[in-house]
């Protein structure tokens, strides 16, 4: 994918465009060939307006001065083609993520892209935004644009794909024609085996309160309060749309974000807020949403990452015992099935799933009482996903309370014992496993308060 975009040069093989073999050594080559690339992480600049972003690096100019009128007019045409109701003068930082993504698509279209490559375009979009995007993808298809749609979200794939090419470990794992595109067929190709769906644990027995959150106010929604509890041995999911303030809540509990007011009670004692160290020592750990920039130090080895939060355990008089540190890291990464040659392997070279296992591993060594996971399986392959779910189940058997934030409906329904749904900073309802359904969650997520 990066090869087609001209970011990485291929080691072998050839690329054909309209039957002609071509060489792509640079981003410009792929642009000339009509290949547009939409990265998973957006490449838009927040400090420039929509028109400027669409024509970034190719601003129409006269005498070295930007021809703003032409740029705005051209951008407007593209936005209309996409059916995007925003002004071309809007500064990008005022837009929602989904809209920024549309701007990115507009940019690719402005290059007369004949093939559009989209890498996990919906990974951070809400359900409605996703539908919008899929509609645009459909429109583009009818306009004769070829689309390579890379996604882990199988329901989207079933919805829009004409053909599926599954890759596993950097190799073709098989193709599916339109008629054969089903959830199970795709999973089989990706995993190389049939995935047995895990039934969620039996209806909760009488469990003790472990984590109680009372009247928590976050900086994002200073006027709204959040209260809920997680019992020992239970998995509670915070569901809701993107922007509902779920991450802010878990960050405030862990202490990486400040809480304006409220109380977090852990096993009966009030926990100091705003200090991750104290949270960790008390037994509250967070697997953050953005593992590459805050969950891990990607330039470091598996070992160094796993032992970082509790390094002093392997030290005497503050000097680290290298052997003890190594042993702990080896044991933990084996237990979690991290696929890497040694624990000295640099984390940045691992797949998303293995990286996530390392993040989980570093908290396992802290023996958490409460494990908070924010979008634990985003960008994680199906195999590793199942392993992470198994691990969560295993932990609840040991009496760990798990709080999970997830936007993946399948995950919410399949893993949680209870689902607390958030809408604009408050919890609109808590659903037991029995009451849980996609419709019930969505109703609460869009703000309909649960009937008492």
């Amino acid at each position: 994918m990066k090869i087609l975009g001209g970011l990485v040069t291929p080691d072998e093989g050839e690329i054909l465009v309209k039957g002609q073999p071509v060489k792509i050594g640079h981003v410009n080559d792929s642009i000339h060939l009509g290949i547009g690339l939409i990265h998973q992480e957006l490449n838009t600049l927040d400090n420039i307006d929509v028109a400027g972003n669409v024509f970034l690096g190719r601003e129409p100019s006269r005498f070295g001065l930007i021809n703003r009128a032409k740029m705005r007019a051209d951008a407007l045409v593209l936005l209309e083609r996409l059916g995007l109701p925003i002004s071309v003068d809007t500064q990008l930082d005022k837009l929602a993520l989904a809209q920024k993504q549309m701007v990115e698509i507009a940019k690719a279209l402005s290059l007369n892209a004949r093939v559009l490559i989209m890498d996990e375009p919906t990974s951070s979009l809400t359900v409605t935004e996703t539908e919008q995007l899929l509609k645009i993808v459909n429109d583009l298809r009818s306009q004769g644009v070829g689309i390579v749609y890379i996604s882990h979200r199988l329901s989207e794939v079933t919805q829009i794909a004409d053909r599926v090419v599954a890759l596993r470990d950097g190799k073709n794992a098989g193709d599916l024609a339109k008629a054969d595109i089903t959830h199970d067929n795709m999973v089989r190709l990706m995993v190389g085996r049939d995935l047995v769906r895990k039934a969620a644990s039996a209806e909760a027995k009488e469990l003790d309160d472990c984590l109680v959150v009372k009247g928590l106010k976050t900086t994002r929604y200073p006027a709204r309060e959040v209260s809920f509890d997680v019992k020992a041995g239970e998995i509670v999911c915070l569901a809701g749309l993107v922007g509902a303030g779920r991450s802010e809540v878990v960050q405030a509990i862990f202490g990486t974000d400040s809480a304006l007011s409220g109380e977090v009670i852990l096993n009966g004692t009030s926990m100091p807020l705003g200090n991750p160290r104290k949270a960790i020592d008390a037994g509250v750990c967070l697997v953050p949403e953005d593992r590459r920039s805050v969950g891990l130090i990607v330039e470091w080895s598996i070992k160094q990452n796993i032992t970082l939060p509790g390094l002093s355990k392997y030290a005497r008089m503050s000097l680290i015992n290298g052997q003890a540190e190594s042993d702990a890291a080896v044991t933990e990464s084996k237990a979690l099935g991290v696929k890497a040659p040694t624990v000295e392997t640099i984390v940045g070279n691992l797949s998303g799933g293995n990286q996530q296992k390392v993040v989980v591993g570093k908290w396992m060594l802290q023996q958490p009482k409460v494990l908070i996971l924010d979008e634990p399986t985003r960008g994680v392959d199906v195999g590793a996903k199942a392993e992470i779910y198994d691990l969560m189940r295993e932990l609840t058997k040991q009496g760990v309370a798990i709080l999970m934030v997830s936007s993946d409906m399948e995950e919410v329904l399949g893993v949680s014992d209870r689902v607390a749904v958030m809408h604009e900073g408050t919890i609109t309802g808590v659903l037991s496993q029995k009451e849980c359904s996609e419709e019930a969650i969505m109703r609460l997520a869009v703000g309909k308060v649960q009937a008492a």
Binding site: V294, G295, P309, L311, A315
Partner: protein
């Protein structure tokens, strides 16, 4: 880690080559007196370069060191030498005071630490940029040094009453200059601190990815501030030694641009200005290389006006070579993975 060892090895080879060339061209290079002088300079510069390196590892920078030398040097001379104490108005009460030299040393080290703490506070709590904070320090302390001394050069005369201190700062043990010995002691301690201790690992973590470090429960503010405290303390130690080495402190010039020598030594020794990378051995080797180059310029009769140009060119060449090697090894890795 491997990367670091390669860097250290690279600069070590460069050091050996420069030494060999100088020794061949000039018989004086290996003369005992020249070696002693060079060792003394390496000691003086090495101590504060380690401090500079600590700060750079956190991703920051300390530009104030040279001016700290000036203000600490002036204050020390005025406290130690009764002939020199004509303090300006708010400090007039110090005139004619006799303070034991041990107390003076404690005051100077305390002041260095205090300034470092102030920098750390402004950077981590007030969230000012390290460059700005320490640049203001560079200007402010220089100005204060000139004000306190009334722009007069201060000296230690016969060092009456503090001969022991002077001996400690400028003497030799078994022919090895004191500053060099002190550097060795400091490097060994700091090697353990940086490369073997929990604190050292946290320092690297914070420099590499401050947010990830915070999410791992590291008190990142305290760790970053501590680097400036160490830099301040080491500047205090080096400040005392340098003052006795020059034996006269002209407030406008003393220590001028020394902070850049520290930064250069650290960068040459493998510290990345982006933070998260560096080693004590590298910093010490970097200091040695800079001093030997300085010595080479002197011994080979290269016009001294060119000495800065030589330093600049060698640092650039070193960094360039390193970058080229890094790129090449990256490509080789990709190839190996493909094959």
């Amino acid at each position: 880690m491997k990367n670091l060892i390669r860097k250290e090895l690279g600069i070590f080879v460069l050091l050996v080559v420069v030494c060999a060339v100088t020794a061949m061209k000039s018989p004086h290079f290996l003369g005992i007196e020249n070696l002693q002088n060079t060792a003394e300079l390496i000691g003086l510069y090495g101590i504060f370069s380690i401090g500079a390196g600590m700060v750079i590892i956190t991703g920051g920078i300390d530009l104030s060191v040279g001016s700290v030398f000036a203000i600490l040097g002036v204050i020390m001379a005025m406290l130690l030498n009764p002939n020199e104490n004509n303090w300006p108005t708010p400090l007039k009460f110090l005139n004619g005071s006799h303070i034991p030299w041990l107390v003076v040393v404690a005051i100077i080290l305390g002041l260095g630490t205090l300034l470092g703490t102030l920098h750390g506070y402004l950077i981590t709590r007030v969230k000012l940029q390290p460059f700005i904070v320490t640049l203001c320090g560079l200007l402010f302390y220089r100005g204060m040094a000139r004000f306190i001394s009334d722009d007069n050069t201060k000296g230690f005369a016969e060092a009456k009453g503090f001969e022991v201190l002077q001996k400690l700062a400028t003497g030799k043990v078994g022919g090895v200059p004191m500053p060099f010995l002190i550097l060795i002691v400091f490097s060994v301690i700091m090697w353990f601190v940086l490369h073997r201790s929990v604190y050292g690992r946290h320092l690297f973590a914070v420099g590499r990815n401050e947010e990830a470090a915070r999410y791992s429960g590291i008190n990142t503010k305290r760790v970053i501030a501590s680097a400036y405290v160490i830099s301040g303390l080491f500047a205090g130690v080096a400040g005392i030694l340098i003052a006795f080495f020059t034996n006269s402190i002209s407030p406008g010039l003393h220590g001028n641009s020394y902070e850049l020598y520290g930064i250069a030594a650290a960068v040459l020794g493998g510290c990345s200005l982006r933070g998260g990378e560096g080693s004590i051995i590298g910093i010490v080797l970097g200091t040695m290389l800079l001093q030997v180059l300085q010595n080479l310029v002197n011994l080979l009769g290269i016009p001294s006006s060119l000495s800065f140009a030589v330093l600049g060119a060698v640092i650039l060449a070193g960094v360039l070579a390193d970058q080229l090697l890094t790129n090449r090894s990256k490509k080789a890795k990709v190839k190996a993975a493909a094959g």
